[in-house]
Structure formats: C-alpha cells, structure tokens
C-alpha cells in the first residue's frame, strides 16, 4: 500500500504543488489511509531532525560568502581577468563568459547567482560587440551550470547529507568534471567562432587602472605565499623532506625557500608582461584566494566543510570591507537577508526530504524499483545509460536540488549495490541534474538568463542546443570513465 506514495507524489508534483508540501503530503496521506497515523508524527520529527544538522550549516555560509563576494564587486575583477587571458581569441567575450563562470564557480555554489551576476555584465557587453542577444544569453546559461559542479556546491552538500556521503569527497570529485564542462563549452565556442566569424575583444578594457596600496600588498603577499606553498608541497612530495615527522624548523625553512623562489620567479616575469595585464591579474588575486582557502583548508584537514564555509564568510567580509572597501555596513542586512531567505527554503526542503526518505525505506521502494530496473538489463553500463536519460528528463522539469533530494535515496542504493562507487554516482547525478537547470521547458537558469537578457526563453533554448550537446557528452564521459571524478578524491585519500 505504502509504495503508492510515489505515484501520488508524482501527481502532486506535476499538478504544481510545491515540492516541500508534496514530499510530506504524499506519504502523509498514504500513512493515514493505511492506518499508520502514528508514523505521521515520525514524518514531522524527521523534518526537524533533518534540519538540525551541523554539516547542513555549510549551505547558508557558502550562500552568504557568495553574496558578500558578489556585492563586494568581485564579478568585475573576475571578468576582467578572464578577458585578459582569453579576450584576444576569436569569439573572445564568449570565451571570457565561460572562463568567468569557471572562476566564479570556485566562489559560489549557485548557477542562478552565476547567471544573474555574469549575465547582467556580459550579455550587454557581448551584444555591443555584435553577438546576438540569444547567443550571449545561451552562453551565459550554459556556462552557469558549472557553478554547482566546481566546489563549493550547494547541491553536493545536500546530496552528501541526504545520502550520508563525505562533502569533502564530493567537492573534490566535482573539480575535474566542472573543468571538463568548461573546456567542452570553450571548444564549441572555438568551432562556432570560425564558422560564424565571431569577433575578438580587447584583452584590457580599462587601461591604467589603479590598485590601492593595501590591495597591492595583500595580493603581493597572497600570490607568493600560495606559490611558495605549491613549491613546498611539490618538494616535500618528491623528497620527503619537511614531513611532519621531522623537526618543526625544516618545514618552515623549506616553505620559506618556496616563498623566496616564488618571489624571484614572479619578479623575473614582472617585466615580461604588460603593466595593465599585471594590474588586472593583481586585482583577481584577492577574490581567487577564496577557493584556495576553502579547498586548501579541507584538503589539509584543517577545517570541516562547514568551518571552511564560515572562514570563507570571514574572508569575504575582510575583502569587501577592509581590502577592496566596496561594501559598507548599510549593505550588510540586505546581503544577510538574501542568504537567509534562500537558505531557509533549501533547509526546509532538506528536512522534508529526510522525512520522505524514511517513508522511502519503509515502503521498500528501492527494492521494488531495483527489481524493475534489473528486469530491463543486468548490465550496469546499459543501466547507467538509461538512468542518465531518466535524470536528464527529470532535470528538464525539476530543479537540481529537489530532484537530487527525491531521487538520491531511491536510485543511489540500487547503483551502489551494482558496484558503482557512491561518490561516482553522486557526481553523475549532480552533473546531470545541474545541466538540467539549463534545459527547457523548466530550466531555472534559462529563466534567469531570459530575464537578464530580455529575450524569450524559447529563443535562448534553441541557441543553447550546441552547448547542451557538449554537456551531455561530458555527462556520458563522466559516467563511463570514473577516473575523471574519482582520481582527485582517491589521490587525496578522501575515497578508498
């Protein structure tokens, strides 16, 4: 009897009941009809217990850090930096759009925030250079989906929590797939650039920009400290000198030598690049420190993802208020309010999902569905193909977060049982459903791109097709080559 909650839930969803209420109404009604009223109380308790979680706190924190960074004016810096790197290529601004999305993804875990922030800046700029508005909007929407794939990622935090996986492992597993989507999109633009004679852009838009003394020295120090650490890590990995079992002085001295080497190297490069290029790069150092801080902290085992998110907020506050001085105290309530509003919806949804998950287990739905799926084929490769199609279709109608919450507990155990690594399956689901954010008819980033560009959704949906084709290709690559997602977590010891 209880298994009927799934079709009832689907009906509720299709007729337009908000997902949160559907997740509770469908099992609630079935429990009531089967005389298990007492278990309805269990549903309520699970909503509460589902929200009462320390790892979930990373969601409001990452949202807040992203909001602070965005309000603090980092978008312009990232776009200018991307333009300095790729603007001179044919189809320059389209490349810039994609690269900016990849960089932005390291600061924010939201595709919608990415579309909104980058679109409002780049779509008009691209139009001015002769690109059609629909193409500009399509590139923006297609590249925005990288946001929740490259860490930090709200969707992966939710998946990890609902499915009991490690957030850090999922974050690390998302890096290469995210870069792969970006590279794929860049290749499409490259091909289109030749075919449609897309224009080149200036590498430097604002020449002779000043950098404040404070920002100059902060960037100066950060760059050398990061590069120095990289040299130190490579040296330590290669020679074993400076490991923790040796005296405390040796790592310190080795790191010092690394910093010095970095300084000498950078000073050597100084005169080889144009001063404006140097300025633009310098202005990008402070924002780009955020992903280094988050991933570095998690990788080194210094922070949990939640703590890393709180540290990212602190860093964003320091940057916006004291280094760049682009925010004032009066901006703060609005930023906090936006982060709190979005978080509340996500947290309540996760709570409802945890209650839903209990009924999923009680109803034996995964077992029944597993039998059905295995009756289609016993070959995991064919089943993964079919599941990708199912996820893609679901993603066309439902946003990634709710889709993951609903389908994760049902599909995850089936594929893990068949030998697919849980982290690998998490990445397949996350990337597939995230791409769904840019697919018609119900693609959240398409809607945002449409509102930013003032262009019809249908028109953007047509222009986005070549980009979607590449994203689908990447989804299948990720599915059939587990090493793409699993290598970094394995190398870093987050996955066995």
């Amino acid at each position: 009897m209880l298994i009927w909650f799934l079709p009832v839930f689907l009906i509720f969803l299709i007729i337009g009941l908000p997902v949160i209420f559907g997740l509770l109404a469908a099992p609630g009604i079935l429990l009531w009809m089967s005389g298990q009223e007492k278990d309805i109380t269990l549903l309520y308790r699970n909503v509460y217990n589902g929200m009462d979680s320390f790892p979930l706190m990373a969601i409001p924190f990452f949202m807040l850090a992203g909001e602070l960074m965005n309000k603090g004016g980092i978008t312009t810096r990232l776009v200018e930096f991307s333009q300095a790197l790729m603007g001179h290529l044919r189809g320059g601004l389209a490349h810039v759009n994609i690269l900016s999305s990849m960089l932005f993804a390291g600061l924010s875990g939201s595709a919608v925030a990415d579309t909104s922030a980058l679109g409002s800046m780049l779509i008009p700029a691209m139009e001015k250079q002769g690109y059609t508005r629909r193409f500009a909007a399509a590139v923006t929407a297609a590249s925005s989906v990288i946001g929740p794939i490259i860490p930090p990622s709200g969707i992966m935090i939710i998946y990890a929590y609902v499915m009991g996986e490690s957030v850090a492992a999922l974050f690390l597993a998302g890096i290469v797939p995210g870069i792969l989507v970006g590279v794929g999109l860049i290749l499409v633009v490259r091909l289109m650039a030749d075919r449609y004679d897309l224009p080149k852009a200036e590498r430097i838009v604002r020449k002779g920009q000043p950098v404040s003394t404070r920002e100059y020295w902060v960037s100066f120090a950060l760059l050398r400290l990061n590069l120095g650490w990289l040299f130190f890590a490579i040296f330590r990995g290669a020679t074993g000198i400076g490991n923790s079992d040796t005296s405390a002085l040796i790592p310190l001295v080795t790191y010092g030598v690394g910093v010095l080497t970095a300084h000498v190297l950078l000073m050597g490069l100084r005169n080889k690049v144009h001063p404006d290029f140097r300025t633009v790069s310098k202005r990008a150092v402070v924002p780009l420190q955020t992903p280094i801080l988050i991933l570095g902290g998690i990788l080194l085992g210094v922070f949990t993802p939640t703590e890393a998110a709180a540290v990212a907020v602190l860093y964003a506050v320091i940057v916006a208020f004291f280094v760049l001085k682009t925010m004032t105290l009066s901006d703060l309530p609005k930023v906090l309010s936006r982060a709190a509003l979005t978080s509340s919806v996500v947290l309540l949804l996760v709570g409802a999902a945890m209650a839903f998950k209990t009924v999923v287990s009680l109803s034996y739905a995964p077992q029944i569905l597993a039998e059905f799926i295995l009756s289609l084929s016993e070959n995991p490769l064919i089943l993964l193909f079919l599941i990708n199609i199912l996820l893609f279709v679901v993603g066309m109608f439902l946003d990634a977060g709710p889709a993951i919450i609903i389908l994760g507990p049902i599909l995850g155990p089936i594929f893990v049982e068949m030998g697919v690594h849980p982290v690998h399956f998490a990445i397949i689901m996350s990337v597939n459903l995230t791409v769904g954010l840019a697919t018609p008819p119900m693609g959240l980033v398409l809607f945002v791109a449409s509102s930013v560009a003032q262009e019809k959704v249908e028109t953007i949906a047509k222009a986005i097709l070549p980009f979607l084709a590449v994203e689908i290709l990447v989804i299948f690559l990720i599915t059939y080559v587990p090493a793409i997602s699993m290598t970094i977590p394995r190398l870093t010891g987050f996955v066995n």
């Binding site: 299709i14 007729i15 337009g16 009941l17 908000p18 997902v19 949160i20 209420f21 509770l24 109404a25 609630g28 309805i40 109380t41 309520y44 909503v47 509460y48 929200m51 009462d52 979930l56 706190m57 409001p60 924190f61 949202m63 807040l64 939201s110 595709a111 919608v112 925030a113 909104s116 709200g154 969707i155 210094v302 922070f303 939640t306 703590e307 709180a310 602190l314 309530p333 609005k334 906090l336 309010s337 982060a339 709190a340 509003l341 979005t342 978080s343 509340s344 919806v345 947290l347 949804l349 109608f397 439902l398 946003d399 990634a400 977060g401 709710p402 008819p441 119900m442 959240l444 980033v445």
Partner: protein
Amino acid sequence: MGVLHGLLWPFQKWNDLVLPVGRWISIAAIALMVLAILVQVFFRYVLNAALPWPDEAARFMMLWLTGLMAPIAFRQGGFVAIDMVVQALPLKIGQIMSLGLLFISAGVLATAVEIGWSEVTGFGGRFNTASLYVPLAIDFSEWLRVPRSWMMASLFVGVVLLLIVNIELILRSIISLLGHGGDLKPLTPEDEVMAE
C-alpha cells in the same frame, strides 16, 4: 467581496507586520551563526581547546532562521514547484487548481501545527539542550540551561507562520478567482531565491 477583503485584512496585516520582525531576527541569527563557528575554529585550532556550545548554538540559530524566513519565501512564491500545468490551463481552471493546491498545503501545515504543538509540549521537549545556557541575572550569577523545547519551537513557529501565510494566499486566490485580483496588494519579492 467585502466579506472576503474583511477576512483577508487581519492575515495580511499580521504577515506585513510580523514577518519583517522574523526577517530581522534571521539576519541577526545568520550573522551570529558565522560568529559562533568562527569562535569554535579559533578555540579548536588555535587554542586547541574546543568549546562545547558553539556548534549547538549555531544549529539553534539555523533552525530559527529557517522557521522565520521560510514563511517569507512562501509568501513571495519562493517554494519550488512545477507550475507548467497550472499555466497551461485556461485561466479560470488554472486558478481553481491553484486554490486546490493551496488547500492541500494548508492541510499539511495544519497537521504539522497540531503535531508540532504536541512535540514541543511533549516528552522530547522536557529535556535540556546539551550545552546552551542563558543568564537569569544581570550579574551572570544565575544561569538557566536552555530547554530543548526552545529549539523545537522553531519548526512549530515556522509551520504556524506558514499556515497564516497559506490562509492569506487562499483568500487572495479566492478573490482573484472571483475576478477582483486587481484590488489586491502585490506581494513583491524583496529578495530573489537563488538556491540552485
């Protein structure tokens, strides 16, 4: 129509006045959450002496933030739903369907309010939190261990506020269905929800 507007008025007024208070509390809560975790990071990693209270205090604030902000999001239409079918239907039928959906959500919320109250006042609420204390005297000489019910009340208050918003939305929906939607004050979103 006057009767419907009369019925709507107290709910609208309540939501106009109370929800912004919740918003300000949530603004403070999210800021304090960050602060609590940063204090913990400092004590754990710098002083090597983790404190017992920051994690629980931050969760306390996160739960209240959710309870107080979710009604605002619901009122602004920020709850994720597939509205394709409603939009594809002829206007009147779509409006009737939306009203039906609001009645379903009201049913869910009313049940949640009933269970929520028994949970807060019941057995689980009688325990205390593990590490949270509030001072009872100005000179901090007397402390009260925070009962778990204070934490559990967050979801109860949340569903009560959501139900009040839901009733307002039902009344607005009926007024629109009767062809007087133009008289209604628009519920303009102040913030966009950017969860994805």
